[in-house]
């Protein structure tokens, strides 16, 4: 993996440190699965990580939904534990 990509992924990984334990665990499980991330996946993850914690948790736990297909796919992957 080139250095630029490593840094990008490490930054994403750090942004998964959240205010709510619920989200910390969801992201911990996600990274532990070692899934491949395309550029599109990274963009989707970045978009999700920019959300407020409560909104993100409601989305990930299925209490709310999204019309954005890019986000839907990433949320489904996050929920797979």
């Amino acid at each position: 993996m080139d250095e630029q990509r490593r840094v990008r992924l490490e930054r994403l990984r750090w942004h998964c440190r959240r205010a709510l334990l619920e989200l910390d665990i969801v992201f911990q499980r996600f990274w532990a699965r070692g899934e491949e991330l395309t550029d599109n996946d990274e963009a989707a993850l970045e978009k999700l990580l920019a959300m407020e914690d409560h909104d993100l948790w409601y989305l990930v736990s299925g209490r709310t939904g999204t019309d954005d297909p890019q986000l839907t796919s990433m949320v489904e992957r996050l929920c797979r534990s």
């Binding site: 490593r6 750090w14 959240r18 205010a19 914690d53 409560h54 990930v60």
Partner: protein
């Protein structure tokens, strides 16, 4: 080795509620203020606080700060300092109204006043009946509070250093604090933040426990830094546990589940709370339920392959009731326990929730330590507020909604005192001692170059399991004694870790190794302080200090009405008296804590 030095009037470490509140005070007074934070301010753990903030506004019914003070002293099991508690309860209204003026969207009454709701332990007329004292913003009080205060700081030109990790305090030979060393995670660069005033607002260290409701960022960084700089940690044996965290995850299952008819069962399917609390059963108070659960597990009636949890059963409830009255619980159970609570019970364990102890301060927010004839000499230039500090207002047990109040009142107080100090003595910055900078550099260099060391995650897990088993919600003399030895062994590994990734730029492995070095200091302080305190008080409950006529609840005021002070150097303890004299009112006299 020389490093970049950045100079400020004030440096605040941590951008949760306490840090942001302190920063407002300094920046609005015109002082050049830096706030260092590992994560973006509105991602701080204050966000997780939902219950509200206590203040005797009396908007819904008659209330008085003196009644609030009484409840807080009683809740603390008389270990709280009564001067600090009076200060906090008297300041509550002012701090909440200020927050309202900052734009905090509190819930409203029809008349437009701040809506207030009742909360456990808050009573009117000195313990007579529940009172509406909690001010909330829907279920997002902490979140709304952080946003309001962050915006206020932006307006006041507070300078934020986001994704910076503070490494160590800088103290000179006179003991004065002159700032901190910190690492920019983006570049790996280590910088000295040179200041006249340093305020720690780094939050708690709940991650020392295997089962914890705390987010991953709560690694006790301020406590680790203070301990390494020779500052003792106060009352670290006192941790509040919540009875129902999802086993293996820690995520909270609200008390409302038992309120709606949820039943706790052991491996034999028995509703064991009937034996421990024949009247209240599953609705007994948090500490009673937590101890009963621990006893079931310790006596071999736990569930699962390791018999290490009990079950919270709501399968007998109407699914429509679960969906309607307990929103979110089903999602939590499915996501974190892998069970649908409509069909299967939820595995739960008592879970560490809040740290009552911390860096010793007075009610001005100044850090105080034993020195010469004084047990509370001010450390020049050093302040602390919020969960990382011990003022001490929570004593042996915190009341709900007093945590947000604590961070508002003492965040402001630390900021105000710092402003006064800066105005009083507008001296130049004292020179930075090179040895202190080298200390931080050496610590990072050790992690970068270590070979044949311990694995960070394995060591962290060993620490968390040791704490859960040996210093959990219900404590036993032999387990505590053994725990002191075990945690010392884990400490050796924690200070001898090795990381595979040696890169400088955005190296999260290095950050985690540094965080572990902070956590382990808190873990050792907790275990040693808990082993030494031979009574039961508040959240510290020992099997060998039971409830007797002579010592109600196992509390021993004759020998243990005192604060513990743990020092890293020599792994030793000292003690100081509890302040039983309030500022203006009479002492709230000792009596049995009963509800």
């Amino acid at each position: 080795m020389s490093i970049t030095v950045r100079t400020f009037d004030a440096v605040i470490v941590g951008a949760g509620g306490a840090g942001l509140r302190a920063a407002i005070q300094l920046s609005e007074s015109g002082f050049k203020t830096a706030v260092l934070t590992k994560v973006f301010p509105t991602r701080s753990h204050t966000v997780a606080a939902q219950g509200g903030v206590a203040a005797s506004l009396g908007n819904s019914e008659e209330d008085h700060w003196h009644w609030h003070m009484y409840d807080t002293v009683k809740g603390s099991d008389w270990l709280g300092d009564q001067d600090a508690i009076e200060f906090m309860c008297r300041k509550a209204n002012e701090c909440v109204i200020e927050l309202e003026h900052y734009g905090m969207p509190f819930d409203r009454t029809d008349a437009g006043k701040i809506y207030q709701r009742p909360f456990g332990g808050h009573m009117s007329n000195f313990g007579e009946k529940p009172v509406r004292r909690s001010c909330a913003a829907a279920d997002r009080t902490g979140h709304a509070m952080l946003h309001a205060m962050y915006q206020r700081n932006v307006k006041a030109n507070t300078q934020f250093f986001v994704e910076w990790m503070a490494l160590d305090l800088i103290r000179d030979a006179d003991g004065e604090v002159l700032g901190v060393t910190a690492m920019d995670m983006e570049t790996g660069e280590i910088v000295a933040f040179h200041s006249k005033v340093t305020i720690f607002a780094t939050g708690g260290a709940g991650r020392i426990y295997y089962s914890s409701t705390n987010a991953f960022i709560n690694t006790g960084d301020g406590l680790g830094m203070a301990a390494r700089a020779g500052v003792p940690l106060e009352d670290m044996e006192f941790w509040q546990f919540h009875p129902t965290g999802v086993a293996g995850a820690g995520v909270l299952i609200t008390e409302g589940v038992r309120g709606e008819g949820g039943i706790l069962r052991n491996s034999q399917g028995e509703r064991f709370m009937e034996r421990y609390a024949p009247n209240a059963k599953d609705l007994a108070s948090r500490d009673v339920v937590s101890r009963a659960m621990t006893t079931e597990i310790n006596e071999g009636r736990g569930c699962g392959p390791h018999q290490d949890f009990v079950l919270l059963d709501i399968t007998h409830l109407d699914p429509a009731t679960i969906m309607k009255r307990l929103p979110g619980i089903r999602e939590i159970a499915i996501q974190f326990a892998g069970v649908d609570p409509i069909k299967e019970p939820i595995p739960v364990v008592p879970t560490a929730h809040y740290q009552m102890g911390g860096i010793p301060t007075n009610y001005y927010g100044q850090v105080v330590v034993p020195q010469g004839n004084s047990k509370a000499a001010v450390v020049p230039g050093f302040y602390a507020a919020g969960e990382c500090a011990c003022a001490s207002v929570h004593g042996a047990n915190r009341l709900g909604t007093n945590s947000l109040l604590d961070l508002l009142v003492f965040g402001k107080s630390a900021g105000e005192t710092a402003v006064e100090e800066l105005k009083k003595s507008p001296k130049a910055h004292k020179p930075l001692p090179q040895g202190e900078i080298d200390r931080a550099l050496a610590r990072v260099n050790r992690i970068d170059t270590q070979t044949g060391g311990a694995n960070v995650h394995e060591t962290q897990l060993a620490m968390r399991r040791t704490m859960q088993k040996h210093a959990g919600v219900f404590r036993f003399a032999d387990l505590l004694k053994e725990g002191v030895e075990r945690i010392s062994e884990v400490q050796k590994s924690a200070l001898n870790t090795e990381i595979a990734d040696k890169s400088k730029v955005f190296n999260t492995a290095r950050v985690e190794a540094l965080e572990l070095e902070n956590l382990i200091e808190v873990a050792v302080a907790t275990m040693v302080s808990a082993e030494a305190r031979k009574e039961s008080r508040g959240a510290h409950v020992r099997d060998d200090a039971p409830d007797t006529a002579e010592r109600p609840n196992g509390r021993d005021d004759e020998n243990w009405l005192k604060h513990s002070l743990w020092y890293k150097e020599g792994n030793r303890l000292d003690y100081k008296a509890v302040k039983l004299t309030p500022l203006t009112v009479e002492t709230i006299a000792l009596k049995k804590r009963a509800y």
